[in-house]
Each structure stands twice: as C-alpha cells, then as structure tokens.
C-alpha cells in the first residue's frame, strides 16, 4: 500500500503529514496523523534509507526506540522528535518470527547504537549490520537466549542462577569468622 492509497484512510495533514509524505512509499501504513504526533509503519526492507531521510531533515533527532513483544514477532518503534515544531513521529518496523531480524540503523544514526544493543539484550531483536553488538544492559554472566522483557519471561520461574561468587577467598573467610 502506498501513501496515496492510505490517504483516504488517514489524511496526511499538517507538518506531520509533510514528514510522512517525504518518506514516500517507504511508508506502508499510516496509523495516525495528528498535529504533534505521527504513527506509521514502514517497509522493513528500507529501514536504513528511511533513517537517513529522517536524520537529514532539519531539526530531526532520534529520541529513542522501543521494542515490543507482539504476536508476529518484535515490533521496533523508532521515535523521531522534530524541533522546533515539537513533533514526535514514531516509525514502526516489524521483526518477524522466527528470525526477529531487521537492518540496523546504527551505521546511519549514531544515536541508535545503544538503544539497538538494549533491544537486543532485553527482547532478543536482531539488528543486521550493527557495528558493535556487545551486551549493554545484561551482565556478562546472564545466559544466552534468555530475554527478560519478553512476555513469556517469568521473573520467578525463569530467573537464571546467580553467577559464581568471585569474592577472593580470604575476604570470605574473614566475613565468615565475624559472623
């Protein structure tokens, strides 16, 4: 579906409409277009191109991104703020099961570097071509493949065991004696 077709459903008006029009047919569905807020779904094949277009706009910056565990995969929401118009445009891209992978925009937008690492740690979204996909939030001892912000993660049942105690032996002995 192109922007022209969706226009009958959600009219692209005002400044947010201008922003979404500029993205052209990379926008596959406009969910909402209000004075200061825009919500749209974009083509997963073209995330990097869209990110470059957004960053090139005057006053636009990547505020942050949110990952959501949904039925068909993980929804990645890139929140772009544009000043001084005070607009927040959220561009959604679905990372479908089973790969849960989308193209990383961190190469084009440095601000996406940390937040993509965070989404990878906590929800297991994969970002193809991320320059530095080390852990950011989770401890190095946290097991692979356990994602605490997934809906099926239970804080009691699924909590991994604590890592081995790394206190030097003499410190432990002193504490035990005091006790």
């Amino acid at each position: 579906m192109t922007v022209a077709e969706t226009e009958t459903r959600v009219p692209l008006e005002g400044f947010v409409g201008e922003v979404l029009k500029e993205l052209g047919d990379a926008v596959i569905e406009v969910e909402c277009c209000e004075t200061r807020r825009g919500w749209a779904r974009i083509d997963p094949e073209r995330t990097v191109e869209v990110a470059e277009t957004m960053l090139a706009m005057a006053g636009a910056r990547l505020a942050t991104a949110t990952a959501l565990d949904v039925r068909d995969g993980i929804d990645i929401l890139y929140h772009w703020a544009i000043e001084p118009q005070g607009v927040v445009v959220t561009l959604k891209v679905l990372a479908e099961r089973p790969a849960l992978a989308v193209d990383s925009i961190a190469g084009a937008v440095p601000a996406a570097n940390w937040i993509e690492r965070e989404m990878h740690d906590l929800l297991g979204a994969q970002f193809r071509g991320h320059p530095d996909m080390r852990r950011l939030i989770l401890d190095d001892s946290w097991p692979e493949g356990v994602y605490p912000l997934r809906k099926d993660f239970d804080q009691v049942r699924d909590r991994p065991p604590l890592p081995p105690d790394q206190t030097p032996p003499d410190v432990g002995r002193r504490e035990r004696n005091e006790r």
């Binding site: 000043e83 001084p84 440095p110 605490p148």
Partner: protein
C-alpha cells in the same frame, strides 16, 4: 608506533554513588578513544511496570532517579493522558510546573557544586550546596518530601498548595537570585575557570544532532531545543521565559547554560505563583482505553522520553523509559577524543550523567597489559592539580 594505554574509570565512583565504567584509550596524555559500559544496577523498572496498575506506575518511575523524580512521572503521565485524551485542570498544570522548575534549580545547583569539586574549587561545592538546601526545604513543604515528591497523577496532581505555601516558594526562589548572581559572576569572571573550561570537551552541533543529545548538553552546543517550548506541556506556554543556549559546545558553555537556566526557573516559578488560577486539581480519570502514547518532559539533564501502550486493562502492556543521560553519555565519543587526561573528569561530568537513569561505567586501562591505570579519584586529583598549577601562574 606510539604506545596506547587504557585508563579505567569505575565501575565504582567515589563521588557519584552509582556504578558506571569508562575505558579511555590514551596515547601519552591524549585520549584517542573511549568506551562506556553501563547497567551495573539495572533494576528492571520497565518489566516491573507491566505488573503495576496505571495509578501505581508514577510511584515506581519517580524512583528511577532521585533527582528527576518529578520529570519521570510527568512524562509517563503525559503519555497515559495522550492515550485517554484527558483534559487536565488548569491549576494542576501550574502546580506541575512549579515542582518541575524547583527540581531543575536544585539539580543544576547540585551539578555546579560537583563541577566545582572536580576542578578543585571546594568552596564552590560547599556554598552551592548551602544555597540548594532552601530549595529542598520548600519542596518538602509543598509536596511532603525532599525527593520522590509523589506529586503528579494521571489527570492532575495529588496535592494542592495553599496560598501561604505558594508565597513561601516565591519568597525562597527570590532569595536565591542574589547567590545565583554571585555564583554566575564568579564563574564568568574567573580567569582560571576560563582556562580550565573553555575549548574543553567540545561537542559540535552536528555531533549533538547525530547522537540525539538533549537538554543543556545540546543547548551548550548552540542547538536551541527545549521540550518545554517546542512541545509545550504543563503551563509553560502560558508563561514568559527564554530557552538558554550558548554557542561553543565546551564545558564552559554547558556551565553557563545551567546557571542561566536557574534564573529562568526562578522567573517561571514567580509567574506561576502570581498567575495560578483556582479550581479543581484532578480530572478524575476512570479508565484508560486501548492505545499507545508518548510523553516527553524537559528534565534538568534533557528530554526524558516515555512510551506507554495500553490494551484496555488496568495495567500498561509496555512502558519504555528513556532518560536523558542514555543519549547524552554516548556523546563522550565525540567530546572526549583529543582531550588531555586531566580534562576528562570535567568533560565526563559536563553532561551531568545520571547513573540511576542510564545506569551504567568507564576506566583507563593499559592497552598492552589491560591493567587499570587510573581510578576516578586519580582523575579528580589530576584535574584539581591542573587547576592548582594554573592558579600559581596567575
């Protein structure tokens, strides 16, 4: 080839009480790269919020940070109010503004004090914290607590303020102007501070945009962004005030922005106390419909951004919290490189990094042996030594 050394700072920080780990890659005295490790204290607040009702979440998110404990709940509440299309009573908007500006003053003063300490101006540290204390007192008078004000709720505020309380707030804010003026002149006139802070840790406007820097970190680079003006919330669009910027992007500019913002905050508070209308303070929201919303607030350190999704039940399905430091700390990649080691302490401090928000660390390690070389206290000592040497010359 010259030898590259890694300098470790952290993860435990004797000045700021939380864990963060910086690794500076240095060539001689010059920093050539920096790596930051965070999240030594991740508390899983986003996961916790999914098990709380919409009314309980503000009490959780104000504990994200003890300093931004008015901004985080307000950003969350605005996201929820966006979902439910709530019309907040006028008086509540003014009350929200007052608490948020008091928070800005005490946070900026706290930073000026710490910056003074990093540079070896411990008198500044003691004085500023003395002047900050009355602000904490009036926050306690007005909200019942020095931190974690529990002031906002979805649809309004939880507590009204009496005329006596409002007048007291105006009076204390007014009394701050003298000390603020003295402090600002002390900073602007001190030749040693000029030598220590100017052209140090420069963040260009282009880098500020690329890294998504917010708040005084961006405004100190001449980027005039401020959520209070651009996407007005609370009562900011009804008041006369200015967005403070400084052009140079160095630590000096960020200091000037923070100090001048305190004056603007006093101006805003006095207008609020003068203009506040009477009436209800709560819109009594009954239920939150399905939907999603974003809320952002200009916290003292920059924009705090919250995303909330509701499925029509009484709990959020997803609540995303992004604190300003999460975007500001990566700017070290742009501002620290090329610096001398003694200047790094103040450059790292210049974004006013909030560990509980971003919650994460830096160290200077030897690149060949990977052994730690400097601790944070070593860096503060080096920084203070450099000031002392400058003092002798002047």
């Amino acid at each position: 080839m010259s030898r590259r050394t890694v300098v470790n700072i952290g993860p435990f920080h004797p000045l700021q009480e939380e864990a963060e780990f910086f690794q500076l890659y240095v060539d001689g005295e010059t920093v050539v790269d920096v790596d930051v490790r965070i999240s030594f204290n991740h508390r899983g607040i986003e996961k916790l919020d999914e098990s709380k009702t919409f009314d309980q979440v503000p009490f959780v998110v104000e504990r994200v940070c003890g300093i931004c404990s008015a901004s985080h709940p307000l950003a969350y509440i605005q996201a929820v109010e966006e979902i439910a299309h709530v019309e907040v009573p006028e008086r509540a908007l003014y009350l929200r503004t007052i608490v948020n500006e008091l928070e800005r003053i005490h946070s900026h003063l706290l930073w000026v004090g710490l910056a003074g300490h990093f540079l070896g101006y411990n008198t500044v540290f003691m004085w500023v914290w003395k002047y900050r204390e009355p602000v904490m007192d009036i926050l306690e008078i007005a909200t019942g607590s020095r931190v974690n004000y529990a002031n906002c709720k979805v649809g309004g505020v939880r507590r009204d303020m009496t005329r006596e309380q409002l007048d007291r707030i105006a009076q204390v804010s007014d009394e701050l102007l003298g000390p603020l003026d003295m402090l600002t002149r002390a900073v602007l006139d001190d030749p040693i501070l000029h030598a220590r802070l100017k052209k140090v840790g420069v963040l260009t406007p282009q880098a500020a945009k690329a890294y998504g820097a917010t708040g005084p970190t961006a405004r100190g680079s001449g980027v005039p962004i401020d959520v209070r003006r651009d996407d007005p919330y609370a009562a900011y669009d009804r008041l006369a005030w200015e967005v403070i910027t400084a052009p140079d992007g160095d630590v000096f500019s960020k200091t000037v922005v923070r100090l001048r913002e305190c004056f603007e905050a006093v101006r805003i508070i006095k207008q609020c106390v003068r203009d506040i209308p009477g009436g209800a303070i709560d819109a009594h929201v009954a239920a939150i419909p399905p939907g999603e919303g974003v809320g952002h607030v200009e916290a003292p350190r920059g924009e705090t951004f919250h995303y909330v999704r509701s499925d029509g039940s009484n709990r959020p399905v997803r609540h995303k919290v992004r604190a300003p430091s999460f975007n500001n700390i990566p700017t070290f990649k742009a501002s620290c490189i090329g610096q001398q080691i003694p200047d790094v302490a103040i450059t790292l401090a210049s974004v006013d990094p909030c560990y509980s928000c971003t919650e994460r660390m830096c160290r200077v390690v030897d690149a060949e042996t990977a052994r730690p070389r400097y601790t944070w206290s070593d860096l503060v000592r080096l920084s203070q030594q450099k000031t002392a040497e400058l003092r002798k010359k002047w």
